[in-house]
């Protein structure tokens, strides 16, 4: 029964423009990361070549090409930013339409007057959303690989491909968190617009508010680089900075940077577990919420 729900969900999403829009956005995002990486590479190499020529005329030895010091996968470093910013929003939309369509069109009444139980239904929906996200990320992985081949004029090594796959695996986990957020808000509210707005609010909090609070940065620190002004208590910021391991977006960025070797900051197992734990908590929440959800009436389609 879970497979029936999931297959139907995938087919339904595939027929909708929203899915094509999601796929196109992901591909543009991936291609953009590749183009920016390529542009950056070309600029660095161009400046380096000019410098080598200048140094040669002065009889000075040329330093090593700085691009060779950078890891090959650094070409895709922008993806680490795009996934939490754009990818997470798209995952919210995916989670939202997975459940909201059934309510707005009154299909829930037809579904739940049949043998299926609510846990099976929601698990089927989650599996459907996961398969769609996996497919989109798989296409994105193929585009990334192609970008690496074009820029480096060589196939990625087995290790590099493994790192790339690891990054996309982590991204799938991260995006599922937001797909669950999209689903949970549908089950908590009675209006489609309010559900989507609430999910977007959650995304804003996770992506911007929590990292700012847990970073321990005072709001004016970027303007005034005095670390500990006299008579200003730092207790609040010291306390909130302890919650940093639980800022999932920061953890995602750090672990991704480590996997792609684009950052010197190391991710932690705690960080990975915090993302997985949030996903698990949200999954449990939607299973519980769907049990008490009223499917005898439709949601407002405002």
């Amino acid at each position: 029964m879970i497979a029936t729900i999931a297959r139907h969900q995938i087919l339904s999403l595939r027929r909708q423009r929203t899915f094509l829009w999601l796929l196109a956005t992901f591909l543009v995002m991936t291609a953009l990361a590749g183009v920016l990486g390529w542009s950056s590479h070309r600029t660095i190499v161009g400046v380096y070549d000019e410098s080598v020529k200048l140094l040669a005329t002065q009889g000075l030895p040329a330093p090593e090409n700085p691009f060779r010091l950078k890891p090959t996968l650094s070409l895709l470093s922008n993806m680490v930013v795009y996934i939490p910013l754009i990818g997470a929003l798209l995952a919210i939309v995916l989670g939202h339409i997975s459940l909201a369509d059934d309510e707005t069109d009154g299909i829930g009444r037809l579904v739940f007057s049949r043998r299926i139980n609510r846990t099976t239904y929601i698990v089927g929906k989650a599996v459907g959303a996961a398969v769609v996200l996996f497919s989109i990320l798989a296409v994105s992985l193929a585009v990334s690989t192609l970008a690496l081949v074009i820029v480096n004029r060589a196939l990625p090594s087995f290790g590099e491909f493994g790192r790339l796959a690891g990054f996309y695996g982590l991204s799938l986990l991260y995006l599922m968190v937001f797909a669950f957020v999209g689903m949970a808000t549908v089950l908590l509210t009675h209006r489609r617009s309010l559900a989507l707005l609430t999910a977007t609010g959650v995304w804003l909090v996770i992506t911007f508010a929590v990292p700012q609070v847990t970073s321990g940065l005072r709001p004016t620190q970027s303007l005034n680089p005095i670390t500990d002004p006299v008579s200003t208590s730092q207790a609040f910021f010291r306390a909130t900075s302890k919650a940093r391991p639980y800022s999932v977006v920061e953890q995602y960025k750090q672990i991704s940077g480590q996997v792609l070797e684009t950052s010197t900051v190391k991710g932690s197992l705690t960080g990975l577990l915090s993302i997985a734990a949030l996903g698990l908590l949200l999954a449990i929440a939607i299973v519980l919420l769907v049990q008490r959800h009223d499917y005898s009436t439709g949601t407002s389609s405002d």
């Binding site: 909708q16 009444r109 037809l110 007057s113």
Partner: protein
């Protein structure tokens, strides 16, 4: 239609005992006792907000009653939900289904949810039975109200239930659509032996289709009898509409 009807425990098709339901503190159904025998076409009448849809929502397992019991072919709608859903088909007032998918894809999905082993065959047979095979491969989003209603009936009977619940089935239909629906209900009742429970406002259709009527007034069942007995009981009234208006005006 190849699939056999689900096994029943005998006894009444529908049995409500002391059924009550309230939304927050607002009572919607008040201590309703009702028995409908297998093979009846039951017309459930009542003004807007009388509690008809709430009764159907309870009988189709969509909501849990506040108190009392509801049974379908002997199975309790709360304690034996799975058995009840095998017995019933349901057509809500507004039928939408998945607009991006064809009628066949929609129907196969609902057939599988009902545990039909050969969903494709069941859908083909159901559409043939309803003379709607021409709609099979068209997307539901492009359908008129009448077409949607035909596919709605198909989804309600694709698993060949014993009891069919229809909530305001004629809403939005033109006169031809209403006549087709009436013929379909009569065929399902006479040829397949389905018990039909129909919420409606259209009293002319009730007179032509139903064998028994019940009248719900502010959540209370104020009347239940066969059509023949009803017309005999109110000899001064010329139509069912007059009888209904008179019933509604009499305190319970």
């Amino acid at each position: 239609m190849h699939q056999s009807a689900p096994v029943t425990t005998g006894g009444p098709a529908i049995e409500l005992v002391g059924l009550s339901h309230r939304y927050n503190i607002e009572p919607v159904l008040r201590n309703v006792d009702l028995t409908i025998e297998p093979g009846e076409v039951f017309g459930f009448l009542g003004h807007n907000g009388a509690g008809k849809t709430t009764a159907v929502n309870i009988l189709t397992t969509l909501i849990t009653p506040t108190s009392g019991t509801a049974r379908v072919h002997g199975f309790d709608v709360v304690a034996q939900r799975r058995e009840v859903t095998a017995q019933i088909g349901y057509l809500p007032a507004e039928v939408r289904m998945y607009p991006h998918m064809t009628a066949r894809e929609n129907l196969e999905f609902f057939a599988k949810l009902s545990g039909v082993a050969d969903a494709r065959r069941a859908v083909t047979e159901t559409l043939d039975y309803l003379d709607s095979a021409d709609l099979a491969d068209r997307r539901v989003g492009s359908f008129s109200t009448g077409m949607r209603q035909r596919i709605g009936i198909a989804q309600a009977i694709v698993h060949k239930p014993n009891v069919l619940f229809l909530d305001e089935p004629t809403a939005g239909l033109d006169p031809v659509g209403v006549r087709q629906l009436r013929d379909t209900i009569l065929r399902l009742n006479r040829e397949l032996g389905m018990t039909v429970f129909m919420n409606t406002h259209l009293l002319s259709e009730v007179a032509k289709v139903c064998t028994t009527i019940g009248v719900l007034n502010h959540g209370e069942l104020i009347y239940k009898d066969s059509i023949e007995a009803t017309t005999a009981r109110f000899p001064d009234e010329t139509s069912l509409e007059d009888i209904y208006v008179r019933m509604e005006s009499i305190p319970s």
